[in-house]
């Protein structure tokens, strides 16, 4: 019995990791749709709006990838401290991508709701 319980737990944890991985870019795009954010601020914003524990080590490579794909733009803004902040914004392509992702997410949600009934 204990064995079955642990196996299920492990499966759920793995599944949740995959869901987190798959939805993080979607969450970032939704947050960046409101206004521009710098990296550290973006991490805090994700924590405020979701229960997801985002490791910064995974966030920056993802932001770099989104930039390479042309989905987000970034710019360095000098600060009084002398240590600039890198601000991220959604590009035009990014806004179109987000619209498409919202449609897919909505359709997926509806489909799952139907199945669950």
């Amino acid at each position: 019995m204990y064995y079955i319980c642990c196996m299920n737990n492990e499966f759920v944890q793995n599944w949740f990791s995959q869901v987190k991985k798959g939805t993080l870019s979607y969450i970032i795009l939704i947050i960046l749709d409101e206004k521009e954010y710098y990296g550290y601020e973006l991490v805090q914003e994700i924590k405020i709006h979701t229960t997801l524990e985002v490791a910064e080590g995974t966030l920056y490579p993802l932001l770099n990838r989104l930039k390479t794909e042309g989905i987000v733009d970034s710019k360095w803004i000098e600060q009084e401290s002398g240590i600039p902040r890198k601000y991220y914004t959604l590009s035009k392509d990014g806004r179109e991508t987000l619209t498409e992702m919202k449609k897919i997410w909505s359709a997926l949600g509806t489909a799952i709701q139907k199945i669950q009934k």
């Binding site: 710098y38 910064e56 080590g57 920056y60 890198k86």
Partner: protein, 192 residues
């Protein structure tokens, strides 16, 4: 990049050591890419730690670095991708070799990309060889059958070269074809 100054000497040592590790991980990249990644880490560390009191600096810094992760691990993929971009932009053999080395574990895709790149270099070399040793470089037929396409020091009787100066045009054309193919392969890899 401006160094962050901590009040606590232990925090300063931990920070300096971490930045030195980031520096080592990105040293293979172009100066701009190195600077970009270093500034990104530095900015994050500063934002996460600049509001804490001196006695809490070590703990705050350790938590921040823990969440950022070991540079050798978290930077691996980013450095590999940036190196490939640098290699495809510059076409510098040194960068290409480094990019292949960094991406060797990213699958056979990069291996194919590297092989095609070597073919482009080989065809380019043949164009130069045709100018240096025209009698030994070309498209050779023996008794009407394919013998050699390229350079050969051994030319037995009955061998004829059929392309002449057009051989240079042919190898430059092949370079173009394989270069385009490499661009397609790179785009596919980038899209993975």
């Amino acid at each position: 990049m401006k160094r962050i100054l901590f009040n606590n000497p232990t925090a300063q040592r931990i920070y300096d050591d971490y930045i030195a590790r980031v520096n080592r991980c990105v040293s293979i990249l172009s100066k701009e890419d190195q600077q970009e990644l270093l500034m990104e880490f530095n900015s994050h560390i500063y934002e996460a730690t600049h509001n804490v009191s001196p006695e809490d600096e070590v703990e705050a810094l350790m938590n921040t670095l823990d969440k950022l992760g070991a540079p050798e691990v978290v930077l691996q993929l980013t450095v590999a991708h940036k190196k490939v971009r640098q290699a495809t932009r510059s076409f510098n053999p040194k960068h290409v070799v480094e990019a292949i080395y960094l991406n060797i574990f990213n699958g056979v895709g990069y291996f194919i990309w590297g092989m095609i790149y070597l073919l482009v270099l080989a065809f380019g070399s043949l164009a130069i060889f045709k100018l240096i040793a025209p009698g030994h470089t070309g498209f050779f037929l023996k008794d009407g059958h394919y013998f050699v396409f390229g350079y050969t020091s051994h030319l037995p009787d009955g061998v004829t070269e059929v392309l002449g100066s057009w051989f240079i045009v042919a190898v430059i054309g092949l370079m173009g074809v394989f270069y385009s193919l490499n661009t397609v392969v790179f785009r596919l890899l980038k899209g993975k």
